[in-house]
Symmetry: C2
Subunit: 223 residues, 2 copies
């Protein structure tokens, strides 16, 4: 009599076990652990000890979950604070980079979807007003904001793929050598400085960022 009351577990909790928040939190954890390729609704449900279809009470599709997870981690970036525009932006963008490295799946997602979540928009607003305060406006302002976020996205994306390429399989050193030799053969000694040392990324990031900020500085009204 496997259907007897004594073997069933009918008890339904009064409050819902799941929630959009719990789902998004688990999604971020799953993405961190397995990447975009390893992310599936079944795995996400398993992580929450729930049936797969239960998720769909709180979310319309897998795409929804990805959108929400993306905006969630963008929310990890702290609000700008005060200070001269240049230092403010350097701080803000350095933080963005750190968040995107903690969650290395972010660049892959930002490349395909519009950033319309509340946290993304708040961050965007921060950039706009920092540069507006500095004296930019109109199309130049838009161009400056777009350039800055493109730069960060692009930099972290290539930084991440570099790490993935180098550290994917066993002994790292051999693969790294193969790739650098490949690059050397085809691009030549000019690129000798490209991604060859591990810690160089920090310095490279600030170098490129300064370049862009210098470009922006030339557009500011005198004073």
């Amino acid at each position: 009599m496997p259907e007897s009351i004594w073997f069933r577990d009918d008890a339904r909790p009064r409050a819902p076990r799941l929630s959009r928040e719990r789902i998004v939190e688990a999604a971020v954890a799953l993405l961190d652990a397995e990447g975009v390729a390893g992310f599936s609704m079944r795995a996400l449900a398993a992580r929450l000890r729930a049936g797969t279809m239960s998720l769909y009470e709180y979310v319309k599709s897998k795409e929804d979950v990805l959108d929400l997870a993306l905006d969630e981690v963008i929310g990890e970036i702290e609000p700008p604070g005060a200070g001269p525009w240049r230092e403010l932006l350097v701080r803000q963008l350095t933080q963005s980079r750190q968040v995107m490295r903690r969650h290395s799946w972010v660049p892959a997602l930002t490349a395909t979807r519009p950033l319309l979540g509340p946290n993304a928009l708040a961050r965007s607003r921060g950039f706009y007003s920092a540069l507006a305060d500095a004296g930019l406006s109109g199309a130049t302002l838009t161009a400056a904001v777009g350039t800055l976020s493109s730069y960060v996205n692009g930099f972290v994306a290539s930084e991440n793929t570099w790490w993935d390429t180098v550290r994917t399989p066993e002994a790292d050193a051999e693969i790294r050598g193969k790739v650098t030799r490949h690059l050397d053969d085809h691009v030549g000694e000019l690129a000798r400085h490209a991604q060859v040392d591990d810690g160089d990324f920090d310095a490279q990031f600030l170098l490129g960022l300064d370049l862009v900020l210098d470009g922006i500085a030339t557009r500011l009204p005198p004073g």
Copy 2:
């Protein structure tokens, strides 16, 4: 007698019907038509009137096909030619943008994979030597090249998702209004200039590019 010779088609062509080139060509066409999400090995084989598993004689995995297709379209960018560094780069990057708009799946792929194909490396080499001729070297050179390609990738990526968002379903105008109002509500009037007019992208692209190039110009040796 369905197995009779008269009903069979045993004729094997002397030369192989498939080839890596044909596969890559069809892959690009399929990606153009259906995007990354609609790309599958089965659909690709169907387009070539071949069995799915036949593809695997010429290619190890779907990832391989994507890598090859990506490098293929990067090859559509013409070699730099001659001229002053700045005009040369503007020409080259404008072309890159055009190619990435023709093949709107490119930004999504470049965000996840290392660009190690022959055409990608050739283009990279073009950037390096143009800026080296202009007088850059070392880490600054690397930063400049990285910044430029990040900029183009990022710009076209957001340009493409904008088009996708706006023109996905029926009447465009309604959705466009909803999105712009959403942006307006959250980012405010500062972003009034952001993606609101269709043809503005060309101008915006050159504006941001000039910004980056100005930043690079400040790093050149005097003269």
